[in-house]
Amino acid sequence: MPDAPKSKTALLFRSVAPPLILFVVLLGLWQFCVWWFELKPFLVPGPIRVASAAVSTFGKLAAATKVSAAAALSGFAASLITGVVIAFFFSQSRLIRISCYPYAIFLQTVPIVAIAPLVINWFGSGFRSIVIITFVISLFPIITSTTTGMTAVDPELLDLFRLNRASRWQIWLKLRLPNAVPHLITGARTSSGLSVVGALVGEYFAGFGVNDYGLGFLIGRNTSQMRTDELFAAVIASTLLGITIFGAVSIVGAFILNRWYDVK
């Protein structure tokens, strides 16, 4: 092939360059539209205006991002631990599984926006409620994926463990739990993305009345005050936060899969 890539760098360049060029083109188009149609800044600010708003409010933005990251990671960590514990009980008996599963689905189907006010009613505004909302939204994928991994065990391996008189606990610890790890990683990737959504929704409703506010609160305030350029900057910061958390979880997951599960 005449145009075969010569090195890894060339290959990387060929996969990174096209979306990057498109990005620059789109930014240009956006700026052009704002200028050509004379769009009002409080409706659609141009990229330059958004960039300058981001720079001038950088301290505020960074602090809010840090608060949101703390809320998202706390809720995510809580859902990870609780999800594995719930999956442990689900994996122990079919009866427990079929009895509790409908209520686990409730977690998935209830709109987070609908229960956020309830959580605030019970736990007040602030960090605690935000973490609880984050926890609720990111719990379900962990439960389902981990339960699947703990129950979908090769029957012959179960036979092997039983033949060697393994206890229930040994079967769980040495067979079901390690078998569930790849599934858990898939669930954790989904949950990590959801945790940022949970944190922002939580902050939008419950993030007021504190000095350390997060991106969700900032977005709500910028909207009501028609500071659309700062709003855009906050939206971009939220996106970056989501990508970072999702990316970090994916990298850790890929490392574990590669090291212990021979998944390349």
Binding site: D159, L163, N164, K174, L175, P178, Y261
Partner: protein, 262 residues
Amino acid sequence: MSYGDALPSLAGIDLSVAKGEFVSIVGPSGCGKSTLLKLIAGLRTATSGRLTVDGAEPGRSQCKAAFVFQEPNLLPWRTVAGNVRLPLELGQSGKASNNVEPDELVERTIQLVGLSLHDAAKRPSELSGGMRMRVSLARSLVTNPEIMLLDEPFAALDDILRQQLNEELQRLWWNKRWTGLFVTHNVSEAVFLSQRVFVMSRSPGTILESIEIPFDFPRTPELRADPEFARLTGVVSGHLRRAAGIAGTQVSIATAEATEDA
């Protein structure tokens, strides 16, 4: 002896195996050979009939049984040594036999099945099919079992590798003299390894025939070229064809002249 509805039912299984004996069970697919092994292992329970292992019900027997599956069934998250050590970590005992340190016992067993200590740190994915089966054998031998139940362990391997592992399995058995029950589709393998070969028929699974294989141990690869070996293989194949319900039950059997021609 009958079993559930979904699984092959067994009837008229009248079979007793002496301590330290190595026997093979051949039969058409779905005749319940594997079910029989699982019943003996105590992994399934028979709905009727009587089965005793060392004078007790399989589940309650004090007799130590090990099972080798058709697939190596190794845990991918454990190394070779970790997989071999697994049975020693399970149950209440948690301690190895003969007062040997578990690590030492694991290493010794790995070497016993023809793997090097260099392989011990590898992961199952780094091994070939034959090596994985050796690890699976080591995992079953590490508990120093009194009964070995082998369910078509070499079915997925190519013929040369299968022959080589047959020779090594035979050596392992000859050294320790555990009781061996070997299920296979391969007649030549059954004749090479066993003191007796049982032929099973299907629906319901019944023992049709029992054939004595009188060759001395230890058996060498040259045995496979022996005319008597060919004759016995032919006899077992004939019974197997009858068990499978194939017409023309009498098979013309290769004799000394035939082998000399070749």
